[in-house]
Symmetry: C2
Subunit: 217 residues, 2 copies
Amino acid sequence: MSLIPPFTPEQAATVRQAIALRRDCRHFLPGPTLPDAQLERLLQAAHQAPSVGLMQPWRFMRLSTPAWRERLAPLVEAERQATAAALGARADEFLRLKVEGLRDCAELLALILPPDDGTVFGRRTLPQEMALCSAGAAVQNLWLAARVENLGLGWVSMFEPQALARVLELPHGALPLGLLCLGPVPAFYEHPLLEQTGWRQRRPLQDLLMKAPDHGN
Amino acid sequence: MSLIPPFTPEQAATVRQAIALRRDCRHFLPGPTLPDAQLERLLQAAHQAPSVGLMQPWRFMRLSTPAWRERLAPLVEAERQATAAALGARADEFLRLKVEGLRDCAELLALILPPDDGTVFGRRTLPQEMALCSAGAAVQNLWLAARVENLGLGWVSMFEPQALARVLELPHGALPLGLLCLGPVPAFYEHPLLEQTGWRQRRPLQDLLMKAPDHGN
């Protein structure tokens, strides 16, 4: 182990600020794709995520051409309508929300869970769960790395995964987890958009802490 | 939307550094539990994670008493032995690795996926997957927030989830996803411990980029 200098309180505050100001973005500024070096830097941050047994269960496919966006947008729209139908009483309210920025974002990437590689270390009992948690951690790294380069990211999960897998010609066993919209934004929302629009509120932290049963103490 | 000042290149570099220097820790310095205010600050960072449909599918249970550690350590040890048996040829090599710091870490927390709340928004087609990705993102926030306060975190996923759920008296439908070991460490590993010990290597980013099929262009 080498000696790595400790982080300062100011640096800790910066990271907390990035965490606090990160948003799921659906409004993007139209414009060119990102420079390759910037996109690679952001994906390197994703790739530095932890993964159970070091399985690295994240794959990325760049789909930023106009042709790909035109091909993918109807898949998302179909699922948006199916979601509205499933929501019943809140359908109209839902349909007024902006839920994606597929056509405007600078970069459109698919996040893909690769076919299971059989890793046993740390996931003998929770194989799928641990792979998915690791993929989520990778996107969170990407989100934060993008935020501090003042770029927004939106994770679109409204699609029928088998239909998307077919269009992307994914190998058997691979699962698309998201269409990631990445790029410059007009502004970062002050609060999560679902809160701002009154769809749902964040809960106080205290509600999420579970009390340990007494018998262990 | 209010105007939030942009992050500076120096701040972006700090966040990238935190991402790069974050490690899954298994070696901890014995000592007291963390001050309540510090633990709450770290859990607030976790709670600022994105979640699909704002479902916030993360719960935390503090299990830092010596009695809880004694109760939980055998569950992890049993799974460690079961993992060794499942690994076959690499069993001995695996058993020489340090895989957890349950007894020494300042704080021991369970990460729990709560019973499904029926959120449809963004997860009609991938309900379990999206909840798990969100939980993974929350832990990554916790990991980074801890790292910049110079605290280590280790995510232990070696346990039989139903057995752990029974001991923790979780409600029906809740799933324990991890035992999180958190606290001061003697040092941060220069590389992920599984790499340092030769168990497995990180892949180059290029291997994780999938080429889009031609027909979309």
